[in-house]
């Protein structure tokens, strides 16, 4: 009984940590540019798929991971420079459609290069699961949680202790004021997309041994990240982490105790419920509309 609960909890926290990283990516871009990037999930796909294909070509695992992350970072910059920046005065919906176009484009490229098959990535360390109170914990789950924790710590450091991080925060608060004090906001926007892509690709790589990977895995992962970010409140880093973990755990519990067919429905009902009572998510900024 308890072991069952623990099992679902492990599963939930692992996938939740992934959602949290995707949500953080959304948050970063949202804060810097008020764009919801529907191509966010594609960064995860690129990370996983590039690592798998590079290792298959004989590149050592660690180097393959670095190259995959760099590739995603370049893609993030390209997305901002080539697709988002030229459309700066567009409507919210138009920007959504542009990022959706970008995600279809990236997915199409991935399908051209890597085909439509599912790819398996080996665990980073031992395949032997760990047993805790009768529940089994995959070693890869520890990798996901560990890497997730490190990334969050690095982000916190980046935004509170470094000048570049503070420049991104300043730009998100008031772009014009930031520009007045000499922050190059165009560079900041590029940085935000790049960091977001790096985050996404790393998440995609550590979770790939658990979920497998294929050219179209980014759609649903990206959407779940958006759900997590909205639960937490768009723009809140803490909210992204809490929202991601909560979504993962609720999903795993729903799959275990209710029905695995309806686990996604539970996730989407949860976001509706949260928004009914808290229209700006759990930690969203209480914005007063100026008329």
């Amino acid at each position: 009984m308890f072991s069952e609960f623990l099992q679902y909890l492990f599963t939930g926290i692992t996938i939740g940590a992934t959602y949290a990283l995707i949500a953080l990516g959304f948050t970063l871009i949202y804060n810097a540019s008020h764009v919801i990037n529907f191509a966010q999930g594609e960064f995860l796909m690129i990370g996983g798929m590039a690592t798998v294909s590079l290792t298959a070509m004989g590149v050592p695992m660690l180097l393959a991971i670095v190259l995959a992350v760099v590739l995603a970072g370049v893609l993030g910059i390209a997305l901002q420079r080539l697709a988002i920046a030229p459309a700066k005065n567009a409507d919210v919906v138009t920007l959504i459609i542009i990022t959706i176009g970008a995600s279809i484009f990236i997915r199409g490229l991935a399908q051209l290069v890597w085909g439509k098959e599912y790819h398996v990535m080996p665990n980073f360390s031992s395949d032997e699961p760990i047993e805790i109170f009768g529940a089994v914990l995959n070693t890869q789950s520890l990798w996901v949680l560990g890497v997730g924790a490190v990334l969050v710590a690095v982000l916190v450091y980046f935004f509170t202790r470094t000048l570049t991080g503070k420049a991104i925060l300043a730009t998100s608060m008031n772009k014009d004021a930031a520009r007045l004090v000499g922050i190059r906001t165009q560079v900041v926007l590029m940085l935000a997309f790049m960091v977001s892509a790096l985050l996404g690709s790393i998440a995609g790589i550590v979770v790939a041994p658990i979920t497998f990977t294929s050219y179209d895995i980014g759609i649903i992962l990206g959407l779940k990240g958006f759900v997590a970010a909205a639960i937490g409140g768009l723009g809140s880093g803490l909210g992204a982490v809490v929202g991601g973990l909560a979504l993962g755990v609720v999903e795993a519990m729903a799959a275990g105790y209710l029905s695995s067919d309806y686990k996604d429905a539970v996730a989407f009902s949860m976001i509706l419920l949260v928004l009914f009572f808290m229209p700006r998510g759990l930690f969203g900024a209480k914005v007063v509309e100026r008329v």
Binding site: G108, F268, L272, E289
Partner: protein, 335 residues
């Protein structure tokens, strides 16, 4: 000014009618008729969605959910319970209207991305239910839908009909029917836009706060247009099911929701003729790109991105602008 405005609207409708009825002169094979019929039905749903997006300024990333609900309601009633098509379609529309009203009230209080998220969630929940209630919906494999019938008279793509003494094939008959449905959908939408309700909606789009200050009950009008656009989707979904003869949960999928809103934005938000052009382009584009096989997805994404980057207002408004500019230029040259 007002007279010229409605005159312009009437011209649009007449233009559309000419295109719809002239098209059979240029196509003859059943595949093309099928494509044209499907496009007309989807375009009519998009005209409804445009009322919400283009006029009231709200976002829906889950509209296929209502399209799918309408399609499945009709399919289940006619196929499992032996109902006639019209009562099934009407009751389905009422059912969808009630659902849209119930979820619309709390959802439409949300703004911007939160509204996108909530509508996306509603669409997903509907699609998941249709996928999983296998005993009723047939699950992911889908279910058959009987032909559309009116008082015992059946409209089927395999039938043979005579109209004004002319023999016409079932494909052509369905196309003409769908064309008339589209024209009626446009006519109703235009009447709504020119009514006091339409003015209230446009004021909500302009500034919700200003609208409520001058006494527009913004919550009521937003819910109302949400329900109307959901009913449009439901009716077109039902007809679409009858026409295809078979439906799967993909009619309610997220992909289809995205396709519908993309048609609105690509064609030109707020322009009824524009969004129909958007529907036509996005229905035909995959057919044209099919020749490129593996490149299809890359090209589709690229075209979508580039069009929206360089014509953020959509195809028709951008073209109209260009035309107006050129005209102004040549007029200036004469002086």
């Amino acid at each position: 000014m007002m007279a010229r405005f409605s005159d312009f609207r009437l011209k649009g409708l007449v233009f559309l009618a000419i295109v719809v009825f002239a098209l059979p002169m240029f196509i003859s094979n059943p595949f093309h008729y099928g494509l044209a019929t499907q496009t007309a039905l989807v375009a009519a749903a998009v005209v409804g969605l445009n009322l919400l997006v283009g006029f009231a300024g709200q976002i829906s990333l889950g509209h296929a959910g209502f399209f799918g609900l309408g399609a499945y309601f009709s399919a289940i009633m006619t196929s499992n319970y032996g109902w006639s098509a019209i009562p099934a379609l009407v009751l389905g529309a009422v059912f969808v209207a009630i659902i849209a009203w119930i979820v619309g009230r709390p959802i439409l209080r949300l703004k911007g991305h939160y509204l996108s998220m909530a509508t996306l969630a509603v669409g997903f929940i509907i699609a998941i239910i249709l996928n999983n209630e296998r005993e009723i919906t047939g699950g992911p494999d889908g279910m058959p839908v009987p032909s559309f019938d009116v008082f015992g008279w059946e409209l089927s793509v395999f039938g043979q009909y005579s109209l004004f003494g002319m023999d016409i094939s079932g494909d052509l008959a369905w196309y003409l029917f769908a064309g008339v449905v589209l024209l009626v959908a446009v006519w109703l939408a235009q009447n709504l836009i020119d009514s006091p309700i339409g003015r209230a909606l446009r004021s909500v789009h302009g500034s919700e706060v200003a609208a409520s200050v001058v006494g527009v009950n913004t919550a009521k009008y937003k819910s109302l247009v949400f329900v109307i656009s959901a009913v449009y989707a439901s009716v077109m979904g039902a007809l679409y099911g009858h026409f295809q003869g078979f439906i799967t949960p993909s009619v309610a999928s997220f992909d289809f929701s995205i396709l519908l809103i993309t048609m609105v934005v690509l064609g030109g938000m707020g322009s009824t003729i524009g969004v129909i052009i958007g529907a036509v382009v996005l229905e035909l584009l995959p057919q044209l790109l099919a020749d490129f096989q593996e490149m299809e997805m890359v090209l589709f994404g690229l075209i979508l991105m580039l069009t929206m980057i360089f014509m953020p207002k959509g195809l028709l408004p951008t073209a109209a602008n260009l035309l107006a500019k050129r005209r102004a230029k040549s007029a200036g040259g004469d002086a």
